[in-house]
Symmetry: C2
Subunit: 249 residues, 2 copies
């Protein structure tokens, strides 16, 4: 008798931007797997009747396999990500692990969507994502930098608004500066740029600057950087992209 | 004395994928503006003590101005979008209208994020957005088709996963077939494609096909089409993109 696995996006921070389906999935689980820091954001959803299995950053593959195994063995399992579990989150690893099981051992799996960091950042900045945009990660853990650079150039040339995830981490500081220099080959120095750090959490910071003035030291591990396109304007304290392409020229 | 305006994303369907902040903003409002069809999805959040101002598709500019004016005149106003209000939603228009007021008349404005259609569709399909992706609209109401085509080509060439909004509407049927043919110049015919219609609503439909077999007649006004990239695989009933770029080659 197999159990079930809910792969859950908790949204950007505390309870305000969680969905009801995400809350229900965690409350209903017998076992909850997650990065320690994310489990710490939802103490209101977990209790002594549950088995909480926390692990560290870098242990994603193991965590996904452990969660799938627990579900295959019959438990009602939740596996949590921050933001949306499908976007740079745990869903890809866990679905791949589940699909590798023989059909008779596969648990029922569902993905519960959440508010991803780019959307949370966009809302705090105004409406920078109002028209076509791309999400790219600057992490070089899972890709050679050359591949990241190729994508940056393509998106920059296509005049899409750009949301950069993982612009910087401990021990990885140079990518954001290099990304800025690449983007500056395609976009003017006064292109508006927004930085949002710890959206929805304690210490939330929102900053609007320009591509020319973008200081990589203002970004950290929990920052999303949004780079405007031709239709993006600074309107007072807001960053707003026009919905119409014809308005943007 | 100015009031306040909350620009609220309701998420993809009914209550399951709404955030608490979105629900609170609507419950707390004195006046709620929205497209008739969206107001109909949240009768549990509105009541007889509120003034509900519904309008039709196509009336977005007027609705945004009316909501801003009501807030400027002192009311506590909510303006609703489906999905996320910042992504092809009402936030851009409303913030632009608010910024055009003299500072002394500007109401307090905030954007309450929501689960956008691409994220809801991605969760139902599995994890197609797990690595870099772009959202593009195929609507030609707000852009010349040539501009849409240029963006499609750039994203296709950059091997990004692609979420297509507004693939079709009443009286606008040819764009998705044309987009498919353009994408087929860059990606193989067996590239996995997912179509999700009415995510989270009555009549929800999820379909996985390939780029070569993509039938534009399977898409409607409420469909999101997700086109895989090099790292996207069909795993049983799921569409999954590898998190690592090196896995995808």
């Amino acid at each position: 008798m197999t159990g079930s696995l809910s792969i859950v996006g908790l949204g950007p921070g505390g309870p305000a931007h969680r969905t009801r389906a995400a809350e229900d999935a965690i409350r209903d689980a017998e076992v909850v797997f997650g990065y320690r820091g994310y489990l710490a954001t939802c103490p209101d959803l977990t209790g002594a009747h549950q088995n909480l299995v926390s692990s560290e950053i870098g242990a994603e593959q193991q965590r996904a396999e452990d969660a799938v195994r627990a579900a295959a063995e019959g438990a009602r399992v939740a596996l949590v990500s921050s933001g949306d579990a499908g976007i740079y989150g745990m869903a890809s690893l866990a679905l791949t692990a589940a699909a590798a099981l023989p059909p008779a051992r596969r648990p029922a799996v569902r993905v519960v969507p959440g508010v991803t960091a780019a959307i949370a950042a966009g809302a705090l900045l105004g409406a920078p994502l109002a028209r076509d945009f791309a999400c790219l990660t600057l992490s070089d853990l899972l890709a050679p930098w050359e591949a990241v650079e190729t994508r940056l150039r393509a998106v920059a040339a296509a005049d899409l608004v750009l949301a950069l995830y993982n612009p910087r981490s401990r021990g990885r500081a140079w990518q954001l500066g290099q990304a800025r220099d690449i983007l500056a080959e395609y976009r003017s120095g006064d292109t508006p740029v927004g930085l949002v750090t710890d959206a929805g959490r304690a210490g939330e910071q929102v900053e609007i600057t320009t591509l020319a003035a973008l200081d990589p030291d203002r970004a950290g591990m929990h920052t999303v950087v949004i780079v405007g396109a031709g239709g993006t304007r600074r309107l007072g304290d807001w960053l707003v992209t026009a919905r119409s392409l014809s308005e943007s020229r």
